[in-house]
Amino acid sequence: MLRIEGLHSFYGPIEALSGIDIEVKEGEIVCLIGGNGAGKSTTLMSISGIVRPRMGKIIFNGYEIQRAQPHNIVKMGISHVPEGRRIFPRLTVIENLEMGSFIHKNCDVLNFVFELFPVLKERRRQLGGTLSGGEQQMLAIARALMSKPKLLLLDEPSLGLAPIIVGKIFRVIQELNEQGMTILLVEQNAKAALKLSKRGYVLENGRITLKGSGEELINNPMVKKAYLGES
């Protein structure tokens, strides 16, 4: 479904990605792990068109999208939940969701996302900026689903959240995947992410240093040491 070939991207003057290759097949959860500044977020931003790559190809369902505008990439079926959630703070919850379905004339997935996150239905008239961190993360995922994407990019969905909320978010990710959603997940919480994922990539200094199935990576001694805090 998504294939990245030899991608070089710059974040300001710094080369954040030095030629990475990633593949995501339909129906998979693929996770990207790595330390701070490894280039995980830049990878996602390159896919969604926010960062313009210098070299390389991003192929989505047979189309090269590395030169496309972000709003057109959304129309092709990629939805990006960025790091820090980026809720529109002075729009209400329901308006945030409406913006999520901006590319569609009618939104028929509203009931679906309200079923997924009942708390959003309760809070639908509240301003986005007044929600708690966990609720904002739910809203950010819900908003991304409103465009009916084929591929969902999730950037650090568990960052800064209480463990109980993290569990809930990961359950939703799994549930979405079971319903057929393809997901590319970037996570600091490597253990939880690898458990959930079919395959994973380890990114270091803008290069892929390891790849394999979730299970292989979880048992890899290097991954254990560097990312799972085990010796």
Partner: protein, 299 residues
């Protein structure tokens, strides 16, 4: 006299508010003070003279004045919106990622260009706007209210309500607010940022055109320099209400109009322009974000 000044103040304030909306909407989205905005207002007044002159020449003004006026308004709005659209495209869009000073200087450049362009094309002398409403009116509560004043107040309030409903209720209006709050995120939900920015300039310029036309009808005189003073006043109104805030621009415009007309009649009309700026200084000292402004997060 009190009621008279309320009417005069609302007339002036309505016009200020319409222009201030253009400043505040653009600032809300681009954090740019569009210094060329006052010139769009001036162009609206000139285009009014040109179109109305044309309709008079072909006899339409004589046979059906309402239609002639309506067409004048519509055509001026279309032309000014096209100007606003073009200015954004050639003077601001290429500088979108430049340091913040660059588009500001570009805006001042566009303003100087438009002023001189009109000066060369139309001459430096005042142009007379045809008297249509004349000075006919009616008396109410010891005040004399002219029909043109009624027309200006009614038009500005209807437009303000319409704009408010557009921004609050419609999908494009919500997208406009989303872009103002977070451009990157707005593009990630599929909003075409460039289109929303163009739309903002088109709406703002259209409102300025209507304001220019109404003022030309009110005072009867137009020259190439009116955009400068009106622009500064409306900018003051926008800052007064809290720049970036749409209700703020409306309130700021009305307050400014009232302060000016009360100051002119109760204190001295010599200092008419000074009241506006004195008020601005006072408000900025007490509440730097303006009357309805919110504290913005420094990026």
């Amino acid at each position: 006299m009190f009621f008279q000044q309320i009417v005069n103040g609302l007339t002036l304030g309505g016009v200020y508010a319409l222009i201030a909306l253009g400043y505040t909407m653009v600032y809300g989205i681009l954090e740019l003070i569009n210094f060329a905005h006052g010139e769009i207002y001036m162009l609206g007044a000139y285009l009014g003279i040109i179109f109305l002159g044309f309709f008079t020449a072909i006899g339409l003004t004589h046979s059906n004045i309402i239609l002639a006026l309506a067409l004048t308004f519509v055509l001026s709005v279309i032309f000014c919106s096209a100007y606003g659209f073009t200015v954004e495209k050639i003077a601001y869009r290429p500088l979108r990622n430049a340091p913040r000073l660059s588009p500001l200087i570009s805006a001042i450049g566009v303003s100087i260009f438009l002023q001189n362009y009109v000066m060369l094309a139309q001459g430096t002398t005042d142009k007379v706007f045809p008297h249509i409403f004349g000075s006919s009116g009616f008396g109410l509560m010891n005040a004399r209210i002219t029909y043109i004043q009624v027309f200006i107040v009614a038009t500005s309030f209807v437009l303000m309500i319409a704009l408010h409903l557009f921004v609050v209720k419609t999908k494009m209006g919500k997208a406009m607010r989303a872009v103002a709050q977070d451009k990157t995120m707005a593009s990630l939900v599929g909003i075409n940022i460039d289109r929303i920015i163009s739309m903002t300039f088109v709406i703002g310029s259209g409102l300025a055109a209507i304001a220019g036309l109404m003022v030309a009808m009110y005072y009867g005189l137009v020259n190439y320099f009116i955009g400068y003073v009106a622009g500064i006043k409306a900018f003051t109104a926008a800052v007064l209400g809290g720049i970036g805030s749409i209700p703020g621009a409306m309130l700021g415009g009305i307050v400014l109009g009232l302060v000016e007309s009360f100051g002119a009649s109760y204190i001295s009309s010599e200092y008419k322009d000074a009241y506006a700026f004195a008020l601005l200084i006072i408000i900025l000292l007490i509440k730097p974000t303006g009357l309805l402004g919110t504290r913005s997060i420094e990026k």
